[in-house]
Amino acid sequence: MDHSAEKHVYVGSRCEIAGQEYVLGSEISLTPAQLQDLDKARTHFITKAEFDSIFGPEDAAYLSPQFLGEWSPAFNEKVQMARDIVHVRRGA
């Protein structure tokens, strides 16, 4: 087991890694090398700490996999902020 792995959260709309599906809010433990590979694969993962600094308990309903409705403007803005972290990390 790689002990440098850190918990990350997916902030894209949907991706599939080795057949496993991830939706907004899905967690996965990634090493820096794995994160770099996923960056290359155009996925959108941020660290759990970064995620927790943006999203709070008030967003729990939106982050449920069962949620099918429309995001509030405030939640939408948070998602954009989270995705911007990925873009900045990639230097885009």
Partner: protein, 407 residues
């Protein structure tokens, strides 16, 4: 002896930097998890010609032939899926690049709408913006998606959103115009790629077409899911179980046939094929049944080089970008205009938006389409079937008969 189940296949695509050289590091293929693309069907095949001696033999029976030139052909279909996050290239990026002839580019820029009078199309007022005519914009209000529209006019503080209608003005007002997307433009360059098929079990032939070029691209819109199709030629189809007897050209730079990457990554969801917007000559056509975009890129391999059995490089002929579509006849002004422009062969812009979720919207802009007059069919309703109509560049060298946006 295990069977190879056709569901158990993964497709990967890579662009080549040198024609016919599979991307590699000192002979080891660099195909990786990020080259994975979900697909419906991939049909690669190696072609080997037989040359029969034409001389008379004194017999009506055929003499045994000799091995002729070798090459490959391929055909791929997949459902349209963008990245899921606007501004990021879709997984099918290498395939679209092979068709369009150059890399796409991320587009940026947003503007808040401060007023939107009730007109068709809606002309949005903004404090300032960087949009130009031909841009494609997503319009949202909060988290609500309003639509994806084409900029057909603008000044310092106004943007005309073709495809929008007066009824949308109240939601566009207070919303945001966004060009955050990924845009592909045509180029006269020709890009080649290596197209992989990894199957299960791994002992069955794993395959790669090297030196692949895209001859044709099609997008089928209006069905339950939007299907994209790419096809073309290649240098050779190398297979893992034939690797040991392959010659250097067939090996295309590899020193060993790779195993499949272990954790392939796919982004985005497929697009529901009947969602979106079709605009012809500024009129929203709501009665569209199906619309197909067909691009004959005419990128080919050079297959007549003296001294070699294999294709040696690429060449390209005049490309043909066109569209055909079917819609129900009605008495609307939009339909009447469509018939007028078809009969006059007036060049018009066709703007096709597929999808209704930001980050998963696929747009074709076809310029100067000279629509052919329709064939009329009788189903339950009368149907006007507009046959293949060709798009043209707006100025010599503009290469803008087709622009593709992932929004």
């Amino acid at each position: 002896m295990p069977f190879a189940l056709s569901r158990l296949e993964h497709f990967y695509a890579q662009l080549e930097t040198t024609y016919g050289q599979i991307p590699n590091t000192t002979g080891t293929a660099t195909v990786g998890n990020n080259n994975f693309i979900r697909h419906i069907k991939y049909s690669p095949r190696p072609n080997t010609a037989i040359i029969e001696r034409p001389d008379k033999t004194g017999s009506r029976s055929r003499p045994v032939g000799q091995l002729g030139r070798k090459n490959a052909s391929w055909n791929l279909s997949l459902s349209a899926a963008m990245n899921g996050v606007a501004g990021t290239a879709p997984d099918a990026d290498p395939l679209i690049q092979m068709g369009m002839g150059q890399a796409g580019a991320a587009t940026a820029g947003t503007a808040a709408v401060t007023a939107a009078p009730s007109t068709t199309p809606v002309v949005a007022t903004v404090a300032s913006h960087t949009f130009v005519v031909g841009d494609v914009l997503n319009v949202t209000n909060g988290a609500t998606y309003i639509g994806t529209f084409l900029v057909t006019a603008q000044d310092a503080t106004h943007v005309t959103l073709t495809g929008s209608v007066a009824a949308q003005s109240t939601t566009i007002n207070g919303g945001t115009l966004s060009r955050v997307g990924y845009r592909y433009k045509l180029s006269d360059s020709i890009l080649s790629g290596s197209l992989w098929s990894f199957r299960t079990p791994s002992t069955i032939d794993q395959r790669v077409v090297s030196g692949a070029v895209c001859q044709e691209y099609q997008a089928h819109i209006g069905r339950d899911f939007a299907e994209l199709m790419f096809q073309g030629e290649g240098l050779w189809m190398l297979s893992s179980n034939q690797y040991s007897v392959a010659d250097l050209t067939q090996k295309s730079g590899l020193t060993t046939f790779p195993t499949e990457p272990t954790t392939p990554v796919a982004n985005g969801n497929f697009i529901t094929g009947f969602t979106g917007l079709i605009v012809v000559n500024g009129n929203v056509i709501s009665t569209i049944q199906t619309l197909d975009v067909r691009c004959g890129f005419q990128s080919q391999t050079v297959r007549d080089t003296f001294g070699t059995y294999y294709p040696t490089s690429t060449q390209g002929d005049i490309r043909t970008v066109g569209t055909s579509f079917r819609l129900y006849e009605d008495d609307s002004a939009a339909y009447q205009n469509l018939i007028q422009i078809a009969e006059a062969r007036t060049p018009v812009t066709i703007f096709g938006v597929l999808g209704n979720t930001v980050g998963n919207i696929y747009v074709h802009v076809l310029n100067n389409v000279q629509i052919s007059a329709p064939d009329y069919e009788e189903n339950i309703r009368y149907v006007a079937s507009f046959p293949e109509s060709t798009a043209h560049e707006t100025a010599t060298g503009a290469h803008d008969e087709l622009v593709i946006w992932a929004m």
